[in-house]
């Protein structure tokens, strides 16, 4: 069995499962946020169940439009807060909260071998820890909150093997953008991705979170790494809970095996309006920009901010553009403060925000006007994603985003003198 198949089999009491099987799966963690929880709460109440299955396994995070951006968002956040308090759920108020997919691993809430379901498509992020984690809608989450179970179809698994040594400015973001550019936004539709190879073994946890996070952008249901020394060391001081490390069988059946030589992969830029519309940085050309966003559930962790700071240190953001940086959690914010990174950003002329998903989905904190272009470390560049339908989003890694902020156009960090 593949990694996904092993975890799913263990969560439905079966010795073996295969692609296409319908299972009723036990859930270890059930997540929702301020825009998906309200619908889930309504559906939960329609079920007529008095209690959630286990308050300690249900997490709600006010991160999308919080701190509240307007009255309607405030009403939705209030509805979620009241439900979370009434049912004594795991809830992080503004001041403690961060972007859900940054704080759940950080607080040791998602562990290897677990099944995590969330009413957010980027729930697949926890695959970096060796969990089977997948996004669903609010009604599914209502059912999982009530019963602790959810139906799933076992996905076929595609194995991706990354060979070789990556170039200086090439990280997890570039590997996953390259992969999506290669197979397309539906190249892994309904499938689980499994990441292998010495290049991803060398990646730190933050780079792995970035890769698992964007599995959905290839249409994937989950994107998994197996547990290694880096995973164990990441979890060491974050949890005392026991977890199970699964490994795929040597003879596991994969739908496809795709191999890449990372030495040939440059930093990638995904042009509007699909994450698969990628070009290597050397082929980008001269594209003037109006805004840079560094942060999000994709690239809002310490390694991402360190990379951006390395480029921005002692330099200035082009005065014709806005550079907005959002640490993914309060812990990331504090660590960045201690390392002097926040000062580097502010001295460079960047705006630093409290954690929120805000600009990534065109919510607030950096909305684009008609005709404006933004280089962003986020995950989607669909039409109107960050604001006006005639605005454009270019996806890139934090070093490219920082270099572009200095250059005033899309630029690679090697161009910055």
């Amino acid at each position: 069995m593949t990694l996904s198949e092993k975890i799913l089999a263990a969560h439905c009491g079966k010795a073996s499962v295969g692609p296409g099987d319908f299972l009723n799966v036990r859930t270890d963690l059930v997540l929702s946020n301020d825009i998906t929880a309200p619908i889930a709460i309504r559906e939960f109440e329609r079920l007529g169940v008095a209690k959630v299955f286990d308050p300690g396994k249900i997490v709600m995070v006010p991160d999308h439009f919080c701190p509240n951006k307007d009255i309607q968002s405030a009403e939705q956040a209030k509805m979620m807060r009241e439900f979370a308090r009434k049912h004594k759920l795991v809830y992080f108020e503004v001041g403690q909260m961060g972007i859900e997919h940054v704080i759940l691993p950080e607080k040791g809430l998602a562990l290897p071998g677990e099944v995590v379901v969330g009413a957010d498509s980027h729930t697949c992020t926890y695959g970096a820890l060796g969990a089977f984690a997948t996004g669903m809608g609010s009604t599914d989450i209502a059912i999982a909150m009530a019963t602790g179970e959810i139906w799933m179809k076992v996905p076929p698994t595609i194995k991706f093997v990354f060979h070789g040594q990556p170039g200086k400015w090439v990280g997890g973001k570039d590997l996953i953008l390259y992969l999506i550019g290669d197979i397309g936004v539906d190249g892994a539709l309904y499938s689980a991705l499994e990441f292998h190879g010495e290049a991803v073994d060398k990646l730190g946890m933050d780079g792995r979170f970035t890769m698992s996070n964007m599995a959905i952008e290839a249409g994937g249901k989950a994107g998994l790494f197996h547990v290694d020394a880096k995973t164990r060391s990441y979890l060491k001081d974050r949890t005392s809970r026991k977890y199970t490390e699964y490994r795929p069988d040597p003879d596991a059946a994969y739908a496809r095996v795709i191999e890449y030589d990372v030495a040939k992969i440059e930093p990638q830029v995904a042009f509007p309006h699909l994450p698969s519309n990628t070009k290597p940085i050397s082929k980008v050309g001269d594209i003037a920009i109006d805004q840079v966003v560094i942060g999000s559930c994709t690239n809002g962790r310490m390694d991402d901010l360190r990379l951006a700071a390395k480029v921005l240190k002692g330099r200035k953001v082009d005065p014709h553009l806005r550079c907005i940086i959002l640490p993914g959690s309060q812990q990331v914010y504090l660590d960045a403060l201690k390392e002097g990174i926040i000062e580097t950003f502010i001295r460079a002329g960047a705006a630093v925000s409290t954690p929120t998903c805000g600009p990534c989905l065109g919510g607030y904190m950096g909305i684009l006007a008609a005709g404006e272009r933004c280089v962003s470390t986020t995950n989607r560049n669909f039409v109107g994603r960050m604001g006006h339908v005639k605005s454009e989003v270019y996806l890139a890694n934090p070093a490219v985003a920082a270099a572009s902020a200095i250059a005033g156009r899309i630029a690679g960090p090697q161009e910055i003198k």
Partner: protein, 166 residues
């Protein structure tokens, strides 16, 4: 159950930001969401759509975010079903869960034009283009999913299960 209506035709990878832009996710009521359905890619949609009308699209319809607001907005706009060559995974689940029928059919997607009148028989998966006289046959739902559809959605299906009804 038979559905009939005029066709709105779209291309590949219609994402959930196109179906309902995130700036409107501070809305909760289906009727409020419907007012903004498709507005960024088809500003005329909401003015023209009538009860029973049908969306026909190419591959990967509903890709992107997990927002259930997307199928909810489509259903509340009056659309009776969506026919596409393929659907994004989470959108597919969400639509089944809230009772918006989806049909996967390559031939129908290739041979139905905007403005055609189409009739769909959900039980058999038969799709008839009344404007051209051509008929097509959609992939049948897996049995497990059919049970959810027949129960009227996932909440009803689960309610029955929880009350011990078989």
């Amino acid at each position: 159950m038979s559905l009939k209506g005029k066709v709105f035709k779209y291309g590949s990878h219609v994402d959930t930001d196109a179906i309902i832009p995130a700036r409107h996710l501070n809305l909760l009521e289906p009727a409020d969401l419907a007012k903004h359905c498709m507005e960024d890619i088809d500003a005329d949609f909401i003015g023209k759509v009538k009860n029973g009308d049908i969306i026909v699209a190419d591959i990967n319809f509903g890709c992107g975010s997990s927002r259930e607001h997307a199928p909810v907005a489509i259903k509340a706009s009056g659309i009776s079903c969506v026919i596409a060559k393929s659907f994004a995974r989470i959108f597919f689940r969400n639509a089944i869960n809230i009772g918006l029928p989806l049909l996967e059919c390559e031939e129908a997607a290739d041979n139905i034009k905007a403005g055609d009148t189409v009739e769909v028989d959900l039980a058999s998966g038969a799709i008839t283009n009344l404007s051209s006289g051509k008929t097509f046959s959609a992939k049948a739902y897996p049995e497990f999913m059919m049970q959810i559809v027949q129960a009227g959605g996932l909440v009803e299906y689960t309610k029955k299960k929880l009350s011990g009804a078989k």
